[in-house]
Symmetry: C2
Subunit: 463 residues, 2 copies
């Protein structure tokens, strides 16, 4: 295994690419082949059975290609992988991504052995290898991808990077996040990790100017002490989802990517020990919280204010605030007086501020009063309004987002909006969340946990 | 408080209705007024300031209405509510729903006092009162509603009934669930509960032929021992979300509906004590699990099989299965052999069965083998496939749903599908879930918890 880390860049910005096993019929890797061949990335298809693919000349062997190749993507059947790796090394490539599955994770002796052979090649050469059993890399900054990412349609990038083990999930993440307006910088799936692992990528992302938040989906770790060392050094916030917690879960890890899940308590202890490392419970939580880190200023304290149109949902937020050791902000008497001057007598103006049906007439005034209150460090806005009056009377939602954005920027306080209701309402908010950089989510517990992690991160960085 | 329980029916099937405070300008209750006046429900608008509303003659006072009135809906401002209640009692109505807010929950002495006056009237008359501070009833069976439910658009009903405290949420629930294809029978919001409370409604729903599952959102309870008594007697499964768990949460409960949240540990003990009563953590979990109870057969044991296209997501399911004390089904060797005959050598056929990219060619065969295995009591299907190949090659999803439905019915085993990916994919599944009665959700933890509760319910009912 090479000690260089700058060599990772070949996976994200390759100057020339060969796809071994490229195909124009429906199989794994079809879309990637089609996209790369039509893109500006210098791409050569290799396939022993084909002459032309999507109008491009096909080479029988990578060594037939007249130009230098920096990166190889291998999608041939598992029994042919070892030979194509050897061919690639002979060609003098810098990086290989093996996407094909069917190695150590099967538990079948011969297939485990092939993986070990590939591992040896990586150790004894300067070639870096990602995989097998993965979908490699997607770089939203230059639109390079070895996954099924559809860059022919516009996808908004961002500053969140993702390290994952599973190939299928590498694609799914991207599609889901596009729906949620969660912007990625780079996504990396590592599969069985014969060479490149999360440590290499963490080091790369720590230095990557386009990455502000790192999210990691982990099944097993091969270099434990080294992981601990890098986690200690990282300055960017890292959200980790570690599965295979249970006994039956860890057995499933073994047959998924051939990794050892390890004792969950040890992971938990390690993750808790270092500032900036946060463990999450599921993917939705991971990306919702990452989005807050990526778009909101850090809170200066732990006093949370709530504006809601539903008292019940305000109470749920209170329960979460106490559970996570944050404070429900005690509003200044002046703040309450300011709100009282415009509110009906039945609105509840103590935090949580429940504006009920008066939401649209009193929101602006209340928002200003609350965010300007020096006892308030962060705001959770809970929107729960039936869609009928919104549609019938064109009630203005985007002005609320704009006002929140302006005040959040001006006063340097983070804001999250939780939306409850029909798909139509949630979609409406999401459509505009990107422009106004106000994270939209549907789970109050994720929002409060985001504030908690942001607060802890601020404290540990003495901000 | 009246002891009769059959008197609840006036709220769900009123023969004649008066809306006091009816209005044709934008305010709370506008949509409800518009809907009821255009519906077949015999509805009379009452408003001292209007002559006609949506073409209907308006009465200045309920006592001016020449016909008998069974149910009154009050939406006038809080200071006028007491008088309209007195007028209604004089008219001889059977039920009153006070939707107006601004009573005990404000903590303002005069407003608390008005609520107490109304409470006295309920005690000393035969009139039953729901509210104040609620949106009353929606009955999906006869399309009667006192909330903002849009029955002018088609909403699919179902067999899940909802008891909630908060008015705003009463509306939101319905809109959200329509998006999720979760079918309701009746939704009831109780607000400050001067008279009718969750106990009255639980007794009603237990007898209601159209309700199979009861969900309850609870903030505080006034008749604790009586609630325990009814919970013990119920034969239908009940899912309870109880908030105000924390200290600051319970303070917020007080200023929301003027209720006392009570000690959370006591609730927890009570809920655990009775079979068929299950506590959930949030609304999404509540309705996802309710949907499983409403549409799936009870499992005969606790052995769960998993078919997945993503190994990682299979592992998450394994962790949840162990955490909740269920079993990962150990597949019969014959079942594995049946699947092996059609699967590529790299697929992982031990449970969780990870079909990976071969999902569409091997699903049908695998599903049949697994469901026919007598060691399998329930199936979780985890669908995580990028949308590009689905769109490009029209990969068939509805046949999968149909096959699952057919086998589930034939073999009497519950199935849940978890879908991961873009909004488009989730929507695609949801669009067809209703027809095939396979619950679709996006959280694996909800699916496994649903199996757990179903199993417990089956055991406690000796099924």
């Amino acid at each position: 295994m090479s000690d260089q880390i700058t060599d990772m860049d070949v996976f994200f910005n390759p100057k020339s690419i060969a796809i071994i096993g490229a195909s124009d019929t429906f199989k794994f890797g079809y879309n990637m082949t089609k996209y790369l061949l039509s893109s500006n990335f210098k791409t050569y298809p290799v396939n022993i059975n084909k002459d032309f693919i999507f109008g491009h000349k096909v080479f029988k062997n990578i060594n037939d290609i007249p130009d230098d190749i920096e990166l190889v993507i291998i999608i041939v059947r598992n029994e042919f992988v070892l030979q194509t790796v050897k061919d690639s090394v002979k060609k003098g490539v810098k990086g290989i991504i093996i996407e094909t599955a069917g190695f150590a994770e099967t538990g079948i002796k011969e297939l485990v052995k092939i993986q070990e052979e590939i591992e040896k090649i990586a150790k004894n050469s300067n070639v870096r290898i990602i995989g097998p059993n993965c979908v490699g890399i997607t770089n939203f900054n230059n639109k390079f991808t070895t996954a099924e990412t559809d860059f022919t349609q516009s996808i908004d990038g961002g500053t969140i990077s993702v390290i994952a083990q599973s190939g299928v999930l590498g694609n799914i993440f991207i599609e889901w996040s596009a729906s949620q307006k969660i912007g990625f910088s780079k996504t990396i799936t590592l599969g069985n990790k014969v060479d490149v692992d999360e440590i290499d990528i963490l080091e790369y992302l720590e230095k990557d100017a386009n990455t502000n938040v790192i999210t990691v989906y982990l099944e097993g770790v091969k270099r434990g002490p080294k992981l601990v060392e890098i986690l200690r050094k990282l300055t960017k916030p890292v959200l980790i989802l570690k599965n295979g917690r249970s006994e039956i879960g860890s057995k499933a890890v073994l047959s998924h990517t051939g990794s050892i899940a390890g004792n969950d308590k040890i992971y938990d202890t390690i993750f808790k020990q270092y500032s900036g490392i946060y463990r999450v419970n599921n993917f939705y939580e991971m990306f919702n919280i990452a989005q807050v880190f990526a778009t909101q200023p850090l809170p200066k304290g732990k006093n949370i204010a709530i504006i809601t149109s539903s008292g019940s949902l305000g109470i749920i937020a209170c329960d979460e605030i106490e559970r996570l050791g944050l404070n429900l902000a005690v509003l200044n008497e002046l703040t309450i007086q300011k709100m009282k001057s415009v509110s009906p007598n039945w609105t509840s103006l103590k935090n949580p501020v429940d504006l009920g049906p008066s939401l649209f007439t009193t929101f602006s005034h209340s928002l200003k009063a609350i965010l300007n209150d020096e006892c308030v460090d962060a705001l959770l806005y809970i929107f729960a309004v039936p869609q009928m009056p919104i549609k019938a009377f064109s009630l203005p939602i985007t002005p609320q987002l704009r006002e929140m954005r302006n005040l959040s920027t001006k006063l340097n306080k983070p804001i999250i909006t939780c939306v409850f209701g029909s798909r139509w309402i949630v979609e409406y908010f999401l459509k505009h969340s990107d422009k106004y950089k106000i994270p939209i989510m549907t789970q109050i517990s994720h929002a409060i946990k985001a504030f908690k992690f942001m607060h802890d991160f601020a404290v540990s960085n003495k901000i």
